[in-house]
């Protein structure tokens, strides 16, 4: 866990989320009482399989889309 300087004690950033495939980040904002006010989960990566699979022969799909997640 890392806390950014500008929001010391009020913002907790978990970066990256570990022990999974695909990169994620969580920002947690605390109120003055120290309770969670808001929390945001973000996916920080996009490779574009949805687009670059277009135009590839259909028989090649099993060997391309298996690289979306290899875990």
């Amino acid at each position: 866990m890392a806390q950014t300087e500008e929001h010391a004690a009020k913002r907790i950033t978990i970066e990256p989320i570990t022990r999974l495939e695909g990169e994620g980040k969580i920002d947690i904002f605390l109120n003055d009482e120290g309770n969670v006010e808001n929390a945001y989960f973000q996916v920080v990566e996009l490779r574009g399989f949805e687009r670059f699979c277009q135009g590839r022969p259909v028989e090649e799909m099993p060997r391309i889309v298996t690289r979306i997640c290899g875990v």
Binding site: M1, A2, R11, E21, D27, E45, L46, P57, R63
Partner: protein
């Protein structure tokens, strides 16, 4: 306690199949961890970006980096790992050559965002909201890395010492890291810079199938032919990247009677994998009656190859001589 090296396993835009390949060492992973303390490996252990930032330069002895460079964060982490590491190894086809995510160089950022956030049938996004590098949400500043227009391989971003290709690398090649690391630990010796930890031969030279140096008159797609399982697939008209691909993978696809798609990257001699494959195809397709063929006939023959760019550069487009689509709509 014996001296041990500090090992990091870093990642860019990746499927993390490379992490699984390392775990596929099974009990042999013990010989790796006997030599090394793992100091960064986000996929398997709880290390954060801040841990890496707090390290000093050269704190890490060896880094295995897998994944393509696709975002500003990938680039930042790659630079950071380079500064922190004495030895940088591009691990897997994405890091070595750009890999399958490198096929995004056939499109661009705008088209990708349109497809992913607007056009796919499961997307409901009438306002076409797309990721922004910075937004204010409920009074909070949230940031995201920038998505680049192109994919790049690791050596296009930072100085890389060694390459271990494969999608994912085979265990037999990953095992070769153990004596390399042991030698570095005990004697401070390393292989020559730029060494590719694989074979210097082509896949064809290591292929178990029988080659008869036969010419072919047409290209077959898989549903159009039942191949003879003992004969060279390319000589039966099935596109196989064996002539243009580095060996060392143990011909695992061929052993399952699937044609090679080139994940080990270009051969030791020809740096542009697709150009080499075009040359290999040109030397066997329709050449027996080449003299009688008109330009139209040749074009017809070649048009049997569906998606030549996406097939011949399946894993290596970002490091090709022409490494992206240059004509819009082309």
């Amino acid at each position: 306690m014996a001296k041990r090296i500090k090992l990091a396993i870093g990642l860019g835009s990746t499927c993390s199949g490379c992490d699984i390949a390392i775990l596929d060492l099974n009990e042999k992973i013990l010989s790796l961890v006997a030599l090394a303390d793992i100091v960064f490996w986000p996929t398997a252990m709880d290390f954060k970006l801040s841990d890496l930032e707090q390290m000093q330069n050269n704190d890490i002895d060896v880094t295995l980096y897998h994944g393509t460079i696709r975002t500003s964060e990938n680039e930042h982490i790659a630079h950071l790992l380079r500064e922190r590491s004495k030895v940088m190894i591009a691990f897997g086809s994405c890091a070595c050559f750009g890999g399958i995510p490198g096929l995004c160089n056939l499109t661009n950022k705008k088209e990708i965002l349109e497809t992913v956030y607007k056009e796919t049938p499961s997307t409901v996004n009438p306002e076409f909201t797309t990721p922004k590098t910075k937004i204010a949400q409920d009074g909070h500043d949230l940031t995201l890395p920038e998505l680049f227009n192109d994919a790049r391989a690791l050596p296009q971003i930072i100085d890389v010492d060694y390459y271990l290709p494969g999608c994912p690398p085979v265990v037999e090649l990953i095992e070769k890291l153990v004596p390399i690391i042991a030698n570095f630990l005990e004697k401070g010796e390393l292989p020559p810079k730029g060494t590719v930890i694989a074979s210097d031969k082509t896949l064809c030279e290591q292929c178990p199938l029988t080659k008869e140096n036969k010419m072919i008159s047409r290209i077959f797609r898989p549903h159009e032919i039942i191949p003879d399982p003992k004969r060279c697939l390319l000589e039966q008209g099935i596109l196989c990247l064996g002539p243009a691909t580095r060996g060392g993978c143990g011909a695992r696809c061929i052993n399952a009677r699937m044609p090679c798609r080139g994940c080990m990257g270009p051969t030791a001699e020809a740096k542009d994998q697709g150009a080499k494959m075009v040359s290999a195809i040109a030397s066997i397709l329709g050449v027996e009656n080449e003299k009688d063929l008109s330009e139209g006939d040749v074009e017809k023959l070649m048009s049997q190859i569906k998606d030549p760019v996406g097939t011949f550069y399946r894993f290596s487009l970002p490091v090709a001589l022409v490494n992206r689509r240059v004509k819009e709509g082309g």
